[in-house]
Symmetry: C2
Subunit: 115 residues, 2 copies
Amino acid sequence: MKREREVYRNRIELLQGTLDMLVLKTLQWGPQHGYGITQALRTRSGEVLQVETGSLYPALHRMERHKWIAAEWKVTEQNQRARFYRITAEGRRQLANDRSRWDTMVAAIASILEA
Amino acid sequence: MKREREVYRNRIELLQGTLDMLVLKTLQWGPQHGYGITQALRTRSGEVLQVETGSLYPALHRMERHKWIAAEWKVTEQNQRARFYRITAEGRRQLANDRSRWDTMVAAIASILEA
DNA sequence: AGGAACAGGTAGACAATCTACACCCAAGGC
DNA sequence: GCCTTGGGTGTAGATTGTCTACCTGTTCCT
């Protein structure tokens, strides 16, 4: 287990399967590019969530294939080209689904931990 | 992704890495054998958490190797031989650690989802 | 004799994530 | 002109926990 490493870092590996939900949620705030998503998740979580590029980009491509998000090349405020993603209607459905599953699971775990 | 399956079942695959924590917590209520742990988690979570034997037994063996739990063959009330596990001091430390990480992550996710 | 429930277990596939790279561009300093 | 820093996208390969789908054996009840 990776958890045996001496230094614990707050990678989302602990919550495998929640990255998609987090990305979809981020895109609900407005279109964003990969780098921007990473930063948004980091700052909005109080520096807790660190998404690796090796996790993020495959996830974005996967979600694009599933048509949960749609992409477009644009130029950033820094005048750099970047791939902007926006959430689709299907993505919103997926997000609602993920959230409901997440809430159920967290409640279930809580009922165990607080027993 | 496994999540593409039509029927969603509440397997802990969604929260990969939390099984150890749940098992340790269960053992804090008292020594228990594998089959009993599965049932305890299922009933105490309101039938939400379904731990597969193919996940549980490898996890138990892993945790025994790490000395988080210790095992002993005994006979159940049903007069069947079973391997009873109890949590060790190291296991309690691990549990505290896991819990703290879990709480941090859940709070971080919540801060994203509720933004 | 047969079946349901109890109990432990494994082999092999799967898939998300991580580590560690590579590449390109823009802006600013010197 | 050159170099560094930060922005931005991406992949290959390894790791690893979990799942699916099996198997074995026992006890108890009818």
